[in-house]
Assembly symmetry: C2
Homo-oligomer: 201 residues x 2
């Protein structure tokens, strides 16, 4: 078994994925790519950060096969819709980051993009609705009008995005080495458990 | 958060679920219900242990709604097919066990049956195909003729059984507080991590 160099964190919106990713990275002394990834993609693509945030993990409808055919055929350029070009840029950037140095990567299908690496550990974090609502309230200061609907909508768009670009179903146990309910376990314990799982075997 | 009294372990065939369950129970000093459950069901139902093993977790086809209507309507008796009666007996036995004392329960939809308890932690264990093949070879001494087909078939029947009686999809992250890839993490570390997760919050 290879030592773990890369940890990918997939997560339900509001479950604390970013916080866990950041603390794990800090304790390992490696970079955590989340917002930083958005900034890097913006520099590389010329796209606005807001556009990347909204279109780099969320999608309204799915047609994975067409896109993957295009990717396999080497269509990385101007002929693709802008959301697909964004995926290609993210895809290449995530591969480069993983090659360069140990790191934690939050979201953006990194588990799928790095699926052929044997030094990559994939984590999924989720939580009960009330925990997530309380968390986004604390984090953003004000609630969306219908917080439950907002969260379910975010999950649905992440699910659609993931399916669109990977052909896989989001949140299926077999795609992850470790999944944790952050509401049940608490954020601090989740950080400890991710570190324990990543410890050299 | 209530202290964890009950740990349910769902698992892919050959992933080491029974071993993890047994060691966790031993370290907690509580009973582990796996084979013992089969024996109890046999005593209660008069059915043969072999029949219970084959029909208490595996099903060929699914029709959850019909069965759940029958259950909701209080049909616990002789009018149900024998496989459904077996489920009702397992269902009641698992509820009674959970009520009586802290324990570990392996398989048999216990996560679903105990879903309304707040002192219950649900774990799912899975592993890569090669790990599972090696494990059943070591455990049973001889291989089924096509071990991969054998394992996929067992998984499919557990999935069907679970869907039939719970209306839920088997192996979906949100149904478990913790899921672990035993091949990646190793059995011993999985035992430690389940215990760590069950520690009073």
């Amino acid at each position: 078994m290879n030592p773990v160099r890369i940890i990918t964190i997939s997560r339900e919106f509001g479950s604390g994925g970013r916080t866990v990713g950041r603390e794990v990275a800090e304790r390992l002394g490696v970079p955590c790519y989340d917002k930083e990834l958005v900034a890097k993609i913006a520099r590389e693509s010329g796209l606005a950060e807001e556009f990347i945030k909204e279109n780099g993990e969320y999608a309204e409808s799915a047609n994975a096969f067409l896109f993957n055919w295009a990717l396999a055929a080497g269509a990385g350029g101007g002929s693709l819709p802008v959301s697909d070009r964004l995926y290609v840029i993210q895809h290449n950037l995530i591969r480069d980051l993983a090659e360069k140095e140990p790191c934690v990567i939050v979201g953006r299908c990194a588990d799928y993009i790095l699926r052929e690496r044997s030094d990559c550990m994939n984590v999924f974090l989720h939580a009960d609705m009330q925990f997530r609502i309380d968390r986004i309230l604390r984090q953003y200061g004000e609630a969306p009008e219908k917080p439950e609907k907002f969260l379910l909508d975010r999950d649905a768009k992440r699910r659609t995005y993931y399916r669109h670009y990977t052909g896989r179903q989001w949140g299926v146990v077999q795609n992850y080495h470790l999944t944790l309910n952050t509401a049940f376990l608490g954020i601090e314990r989740c950080v400890d458990m991710v570190l324990e799982a990543a410890r050299t075997h």
